[in-house]
Amino acid sequence: MRRQFVILLPALAICIQLFLPSFLLNGKLVLSILVIISIYANLKELKPSIKQLFLTSLISVVGGVGTFVLANNLALGPVIASGLIGLAGARLLSEERQFQLYLGAFVGMTAAFHFTTIIPLIFASALGGIYWELLCESWQGVGGRLGTLAASAVLTLLLITGGSF
C-alpha cells in the first residue's frame, strides 16, 4: 500500500476537494511527505536502471511539451492536442513507447494557469515517466491508468511548488 500511495493520490485529492474544502497547508505538507516516502519505497524495491528512467522520462516530456504547445500556443485545446500526439505515437512508436508518450500527453493537457512556464511542465512530464517505471505493476490493464499516473505527477509537482488544486 505504501508503494501504491502515489497512484492513489488523484483519488485522494478528489476526496479532499469533496469532503475537506478547507484543506490547509499543513495537510499538503503531510501529503508531500507521504508521496516522497512512496517514491522512495518504490525506488528501493524496484531499483530501476537510470537509462530506462531517462528514456521513459524523455518520451513523456516530448508528449507533454508537444501537447501543451498544440493546446495553448496553437489554440487547439487539450482534447484535440492529446488526440493528435497519441495518434502520431500510435503510427510511429512501439506499443510501450506509445503508452509513455500518451502519458506525457495527459500531463500536457494541464491548464496553463497551473503551469505558467514550461519548466514545471517538463518536470511534471519527466516525473510521469518515472512513475510509469516505478508503478509498472500497479493497476495493470485498468483503462485510465496512464491518466492517473499523469495526474499523480501533476499533483506531486503542485504539492512541491505550493500550487493549488
Binding site: 501504491q4 488523484p10 483519488a11 485529492a13 478528489i14 476537494q17 469533496l18 485545446g77 487539450p78 482534447v79 484535440i80 492529446s82 488526440g83 493528435l84 500526439i85 497519441g86 495518434l87 505515437g89 500510435a90 503510427r91 506499443e95 506509445q98 503508452f99 508518450l101 500518451y102 495527459f106 500531463v107 500536457g108 493537457m109 494541464t110 491548464a111 494557469f113 497551473h114 511534471a124 505493476e137 500497479s138 493497476w139 495493470q140 490493464g141 485498468v142 483503462g143 485510465g144 491508468r145 496512464l146 491518466g147 492517473t148 499516473l149 499523469a150 495526474a151 499523480s152 505527477a153 501533476v154 499533483l155 503542485l158 488544486f165
Partner: protein
Amino acid sequence: MGAVFALIMGNFTGLLGSWLRSNTSLSSVGVSSVLTLGAGIILPWISSQGYVMALVCTSVSYVVMSDQKRLTNQSDLIMTSSICSLLVYYGQNLLVGVGGRLGTFAAISVIVTGILKKLKNRGDKDVYDNICCGRED
C-alpha cells in the same frame, strides 16, 4: 437532460471503441486517440454542451483501453462507460485543469465496476487487492 446526453454519448463511444479494438489493427492508444480526436472536433461544433460531451467521450476512450480481463463483456463495458460518463459530467469542478483527471475518472470507473462484479459474485474481503493487483479469480 445533460446527464442523459452524457450517458448516451459515453456509451456510444465505449461501444464504438470496443468495435475498433476488435475489428481494426489500431493499438489501444490509437483507438483512444481516434475517439478523442473525433469527439474533440465534432462535438463542440454541433452542440453548446459539445465541449463537456467531448470530455465525456475522451474519458470513456480511456476506459476502452482496459484489458479484456477487466471488462470481460459488453455489459461490463456499458456499466463502466455509464459510471465514467456520470463521473465526468458531475465532476467537472474536481481537479480543474489538472492533466490526467479524465483518466483518473476512467480508472475509478473500471475499478468500481470490478468491485461491484466481485461483490455480486462473492463476498471477498480482499476485493481491493484482487482488483488493483490484477490477481486472477
